[in-house]
């Protein structure tokens, strides 16, 4: 509860700070639509040439893109402002030191205390595309599909946070290793059904770097129905990854000796 209050307070402060620069809001709105346009347009072009994309219908692919946009928007709002360029911002500039001195869990402060409320705008076109996909689907999602979808989106958010924390933790061992560009590039692989990729890459995207969990699995569940093994697997993956992130963070802190005097 205390952490939720802290999250709410920091979001409120970030929102007030952001509203001081209103022209930036215009740019963020434009960029959100352009970003989604570059994701939707190729898919629409594909469906002028084919009826399905690796077994995915147009409606399913639109739902996938909308879901991807939702998760990406939430990541950009709550996780990226904290953990982007962590080796520079957190370790070398000594920001982590100030978190360690505050009376709250350092992992929470380092990974969730800042937010970028304007990025939430990305959710609007994302929801629009999600609704579009559902509207043009041959079959309406059932209650089990909707509940399964919500559970999987929650699991995807936990996985997203955990992956970002694990990436940041690398900075404790290799402070010069800057993988943000790589991570954000690899993230784009989640924008399309994992079925389009060759088998080895599909295995990596399902079990090693679980981008399939981000959008492909929730979207398939919404329109094709929920399957217990899939739901359990996603919850298990989220639990294991978040435990791994917390353990890596503690191990990293034991190595950390401070950047400032």
């Amino acid at each position: 509860m205390k952490l939720l209050n802290l999250l709410g307070a920091s979001f409120s402060m970030s929102l007030r700070r952001s509203m001081a620069f209103r022209i930036n809001l215009v740019f963020d709105v434009l960029l959100a639509f352009v970003g989604l346009g570059t994701a939707v347009a190729p898919v629409l072009i594909v469906f002028t040439q084919a009826d399905t994309l690796a077994g995915w219908s147009k409606a399913e692919t639109l739902v996938l893109i909308g879901t991807y946009q939702l998760i990406t928007g939430l990541r950009g709002t709550f996780v990226d402002p904290n953990l982007s360029w962590f080796p520079d911002n957190g370790i070398r500039n000594g920001k982590l030191d100030s978190y360690l001195l505050q009376p709250a869990p350092s992992l929470f402060l380092a990974s969730l205390s800042l937010s970028s409320p304007l990025t939430l705008i990305q959710l609007v076109p994302g929801l629009g595309v999600l609704g579009w996909g559902i509207a043009v689907a041959d079959v309406r999602p059932g209650p089990a599909g909707v509940l399964g979808y919500l559970l999987l989106v929650a699991a995807a958010l936990v996985v997203t946070w955990a992956l970002s924390v694990l990436l940041a933790c690398l900075a404790f061992w290799a402070p010069k290793l800057q993988l943000d560009v790589f991570y954000h590039s690899a993230w784009q692989l989640g924008r399309y059904p994992t079925d389009i990729f060759t088998r080895p890459l599909r295995v990596v995207l399902t079990y090693v770097f679980p981008m399939a969990l981000i959008a492909s699995v929730p979207s398939a569940t919404l329109l094709r129905g929920a399957h217990w093994p899939v739901l359990l697997g996603a919850v298990l993956a989220a639990t294991v990854l978040s435990a791994l992130a917390a353990t890596a963070w503690q191990a990293g802190l034991r190595r950390y000796t401070g950047a400032t005097s």
């Binding site: 434009l30 570059t38 072009i45 560009v181 079925d195």
Partner: protein, 252 residues
């Protein structure tokens, strides 16, 4: 002549500076190739038996690596932190520094990305007609110039706004959509295809890649590229003059 000598020194300096950041450059290679690779996977899933798709996208990957531009980082950030003042005081055009950094980064990206291109080409059994590849080289050079000019042009909006990364991102989205990375331009619906084929974005990416992959009329390709080169050069000149007039700096 003096300008070329200065540019040569600047490229050498930048190549040496960036040699210490090879790991970061490798992540930039990944960033550059991921879009074309996704396009390759998508269109290979749609047309699994068409070998020209792989050939086209291998060419697109190489063209992308050779034409990447990062002036929103190498130039705009210097406007934001005021260090562009140092360049303005030097007895040489500011663009030499920007161009030197651009060419050095491209050289590194091409060098580090070559194995990715080779591996992709070999794993997909892609074959090229080397005459077409040679003939496409002038178009690749002009494409590189066009991408630089567009990115530099958009980066100059840093004189007016703090959201230069969004502005440049918008420009690169247009290259992705209309340049032939999201889909080969021939697959676009008719009206969009006609618009794309006349746009500068196609001249920056898809056009040289198509020449390398399929061959075609070089002279009409070069004419289109030269037309957009003149337009962008004029736009860069105008915006530079307006931007420098607006720029103010404080401090010593």
């Amino acid at each position: 002549m003096r300008t070329f000598v200065l540019l040569g020194f600047r490229i050498r300096q930048e190549v040496l500076e960036w040699s210490g950041a090879w790991w970061f450059l490798a992540t930039l290679v990944v960033q550059a190739v991921i879009g074309p690779l996704i396009g390759l996977f998508v269109w290979s899933a749609v047309y699994p038996d068409d070998p020209t798709i792989a050939r086209y996208y291998v060419a697109i990957i190489l063209v992308t690596l050779m034409t990447e531009s990062f002036e929103q980082h190498t130039f705009s950030e210097r406007i934001y932190d005021g260090t562009i003042s140092h360049e303005l005081l030097r007895p040489q055009p500011v663009v030499i520094g920007v161009l030197g950094a651009n060419l050095a980064i491209r050289a590194w990206l091409t060098f580090l990305g070559a194995p990715v291109v080779l591996l992709t080409g070999l794993s997909l059994g892609t074959g090229f007609d080397w005459r077409s590849v040679l003939v496409s080289l002038p178009a690749v050079v002009l494409a590189a110039a066009l991408v630089f000019l567009l990115t530099f042009l958009l980066s100059m909006t840093a004189f007016w706004t703090q959201r230069v990364h969004a502005v440049v991102g918008f420009g690169h989205s247009l290259i992705f959509l209309f340049g032939g990375t999201a889909a080969p331009v021939g697959f676009l619906p008719d009206l969009w295809r006609q618009v794309a084929e006349l746009s500068p974005f196609y001249a920056m990416s898809g056009l040289p890649a198509e020449l390398a992959a399929y061959g075609g009329s070089v002279w009409s390709a070069l004419a289109l590229q030269l037309f957009w080169l003149v337009v962008l050069l004029a736009a860069v000149g105008l915006l530079w003059r307006a931007g420098v007039r607006r720029y103010t700096a404080v401090g010593s």
